[in-house]
């Protein structure tokens, strides 16, 4: 246990250092294009984290998180393009829109669990997908809205804007890291323990006095926040908002990323998302059916490593550590071992 945690700590430090250095290392080593791939991975990891918060920690499998991603995107897009908002108010509007929508649909959705919950989340996202496609004047439909970026900070006439790729990368890294830090805090908190109790056994949770319905709703709105932030970041990153990102296909991909990476672990979604986006980027240039690989890998992981890649890694360590701890235990009891026929 301790050795694994020590190794994980050092890996995390190296990982963090590498992430910080990406805008300088990556263009030096390979194509600059990979900086934007990594930026995209960061954003989508946050989206997968929103699914992971619900599925991995509260036991609710949502197939409709794209709805809140889409609301985050449109909050920014409509805020900048139609309302002429500057950067931060638009960012805030995206997040608030996603959370408000999550609250509204959550009031109905979290009364249900399992497949009923999965179905109602899909239904909600489909309803709003079709509304968004139809409301062309507001949403631009499938074409979406393109907008030009307002500066993020301006100080004494100097402006920092996401049009600078390095600044954009660091800004998105900072926001995503902050969100993962918040999630880390939640998982360790009393609220997080209550979430996990509900995930493990909702009837028991209600019998010890937890208000299961309200806690599920809180988790749903928190997941809406994470999805909304990722959607808003994606809007800034792409300078557009489009209804196509509200389609359930997007939600499904997020579910695969979260589960393959390891549901119920903080960093599982990052692992899963990185893996699949890198595969997509590498393979799709050579072979158009790259989603076949995604499907096969998802099936393999679900069958062979139900706790995802992070779970596999932990099991692997647990295996070695059990073997290590068995050695001294055996030497303590030589007589018993000898007497075995």
């Amino acid at each position: 246990m301790t050795r694994r945690i020590a190794i994980e700590r050092s890996l995390m430090i190296v990982f963090a250092a590498l992430l910080l250095a990406v805008p300088w290392i990556v263009p030096a080593l390979t194509n600059k294009f990979w900086v934007s791939v990594i930026t995209e991975i960061l954003i989508w990891s946050l989206f997968a984290a929103s699914i992971n918060l619900l599925f991995g920690y509260v036991g609710l499998l949502s197939f409709g998180q794209a709805l809140y991603f889409g609301f985050g995107m449109y909050g920014v897009g409509i805020g900048i393009d139609h309302l002429g908002l500057s950067f931060w108010p638009a960012f805030g509007m995206g997040i608030m829109a996603a959370m408000a929508m999550a609250l509204l649909s959550g009031i109905f959705a979290v009364r249900l669990t399992w497949h009923y919950f999965a179905i109602i989340t899909v239904v909600f996202s489909l309803i709003f997908y079709f509304i968004a496609v139809r409301l062309k004047p507001l949403t631009g439909g499938d074409d979406g809205i393109n907008f030009s970026l307002p500066p993020t900070f301006s100080f004494n006439g100097t402006q920092w804007s996401l049009t600078n790729q390095t600044f954009q990368y660091l800004f998105i890294l900072a926001v995503v890291s902050f969100c993962f830090y918040l999630m880390h805090l939640v998982i360790r908190s009393p609220l997080g323990k209550a979430f996990m109790a509900i995930r493990d056994n909702d009837i028991r949770a209600s019998l010890i006095g937890l208000n299961v319905y309200r806690l599920r709703l809180v988790a749903f709105v928190m997941a809406g926040f994470l999805a909304g932030v990722s959607g808003a970041l994606f809007a800034f990153f792409g300078r557009y908002a489009s209804a196509s990102y509200m389609f359930y296909h997007v939600s499904g991909e997020g579910v695969v990323w979260a589960i393959v990476g390891g549901a119920g672990t903080l960093l599982g979604p990052i692992v899963g998302t990185s893996l699949f986006i890198v595969i997509r980027e590498v393979v799709s240039t050579h072979w158009e059916h790259h989603s076949l690989i995604v499907g096969v890998m998802a099936i393999l992981v679900v069958i062979l490593a139900p706790k995802g890649l992070i779970g596999l890694w932990r099991e692997w360590f647990a295996h070695f550590e059990v073997r290590d701890s068995e050695v001294p235990a055996q030497t303590k009891l030589p007589t018993e071992l000898m007497s075995e026929p």
Partner: protein
């Protein structure tokens, strides 16, 4: 007559599942300070009765009063927060949490506000309670083990620990010794006896030996209704109980035997 308010009282409580009346017009008065056992053949409605009290099921008619307060229409978590805690017939814990976390969340569950960002392990008061309870149930060594990996007897002990740490006013135990080895049963019975000193307990139990050893009062249920209530001696000598509950001839001397054990 100035009788004290009973800890638990039901009035004409009825629950039907389709054509089956699981609990039939049940009126029961449980005075405080006693360990009360409910026995009865399978399907007598004992667990349904517990489910009605703890709010997991809604009664079709009738009322439930806890210390004089009407709790009939309250939700499970609201009833739990009033101090009625229960265990389930099929052992029910939080499988993926550690033993200590199981106790921790049980202690914290009645809080109105669960802090979303503060580190749970920094709550020293709750931690103290957890450590005390671990010691009481003799599971300090297993504190960091994942609850899902425990042996059956340890799970049952953890359940009792969870009942302890929540400081209930009324504890409903649904077959606490079911599936335990004789040694584990012995430990559990000791714990229940100890608990009964300070908490009102209602226990559903199939093990007659256990029932007759620990109960002050026994209620026999058949077909959703009360057949008879009384002291263990009264119950063991009651003809109707023998007929209805242990009707098979080969079992006839069993109740008596247990009563004298």
């Amino acid at each position: 007559m100035n009788e004290p308010i009973p800890i638990l009282r039901t009035e004409h409580l009825t629950k039907r599942f389709g054509g089956l009346t699981a609990v039939d017009n049940l009126s029961l008065n449980l005075p405080g300070g006693r360990l009360h056992a409910i026995i009865g053949p399978n399907g007598a409605g004992k667990t349904t009765f517990f489910n009605l009290i703890s709010g997991l099921l809604k009664a079709d008619s009738g009322r439930v009063f806890f210390q004089g307060r009407d709790i009939t229409s309250l939700k499970p978590h609201e009833i739990s927060r009033l101090g009625i805690k229960r265990t389930l017939q099929i052992k029910s814990i939080f499988q993926q949490l550690s033993v200590a976390e199981n106790l921790w969340i049980t202690r914290q569950a009645s809080q109105r506000f669960l802090h979303p960002f503060r580190d749970a392990s920094r709550d020293l008061v709750t931690r103290e309670h957890v450590e005390q309870t671990l010691e009481q149930i003799g599971m300090t060594r297993l504190a960091q083990h994942v609850a899902g990996t425990l042996s059956y007897g340890d799970v049952a002990l953890l359940e009792i620990g969870m009942a302890l740490i929540s400081e209930p006013r009324l504890l409903l135990l649904d077959e606490p010794t079911c599936g335990m080895s004789p040694a584990e049963t012995e430990r559990a019975v000791e714990k229940i006896r100890e608990l009964a000193q300070s908490i009102d307990i209602v226990i559903i139990e199939h093990d007659m030996e256990v029932v007759f050893r620990i109960a002050n009062d026994i209620t026999v249920m058949t077909q959703g209704a009360i057949l008879v209530s009384g002291s263990p001696e009264e119950i063991s000598s009651d003809e109707r109980v023998r007929e209805a509950y242990l009707g098979r001839p080969e079992d006839e001397d069993y109740v008596e035997e247990a009563a004298h054990a």
